[in-house]
Symmetry: C2
Subunit: 120 residues, 2 copies
Amino acid sequence: MSLPHPDADQITLPAVLAALGDDTRLAIIGCLARSDAITGLVCGQLCGLTSKTNLTYHVAKLREAGVINVRPEGTRRRVTLRREDLDNRFPGFLDTVIASAIDLPLVDITLRQLHEAVQD
Amino acid sequence: MSLPHPDADQITLPAVLAALGDDTRLAIIGCLARSDAITGLVCGQLCGLTSKTNLTYHVAKLREAGVINVRPEGTRRRVTLRREDLDNRFPGFLDTVIASAIDLPLVDITLRQLHEAVQD
DNA sequence: TCAATTGTTCAATGAATTTTGAACAAGGAT
DNA sequence: ATCCTTGTTCAAAATTCATTGAACAATTGA
């Protein structure tokens, strides 16, 4: 049940770009950006995007690239964006990605609010 | 005989991410970033990266995504980064990409070739 | 204990991407 | 004109990536 994550300083942009160069994974990022920045989501809440099995695959890709954190929580997996690590490593990058991953007119939380939520 | 380029406002980040999520294409970006920003490079100066045929393929990918501009120049193709368009569309994004593409170990183009490239 | 929930693993398939070589086209130089 | 250089096109092959289903594992709750 070990879920290996790269350390913040091991995150490379080529790997991040490869992970984000896919529509399904970009959609996952969009969902996470819209969700509560702190609690994140569990995989089941992302299943509208693809099948359960396939979601495991894409979530692993994002985790291995250092884009998301996946924490076991009982039988679930709590998924959060590694916002702080990515902001430190590549300032501004994640904001740009999120802005285009959120393709909705109805956004229930603004980017600024997301930022502030993380600071607390 | 001009090649099709997307207008600046037609450039989408998902397409750009897909284009940059590849090591060969990132290496091309690295070479262009090191070259003279105005004159750019011709394809032949990038051939250390891959075969001539394959280069045509990757350069087309980058062009179609709106990352580079390709201008016919006699029998050559002058390749430049679309810095301004990308900076306007996704502020800071290209700088971040370049910072990590600039020192890709994958590039086996020699220093001499680079020198000639910049002077040309 | 038993059943339901949540997600993983594995092997196989399908699909898309990347790479290659041969033949070709266009422009420049001699 | 004829070569030479530079790059393209096309079809095929190689490779990588994404998707699926069946069987499994771990946890929770009745």
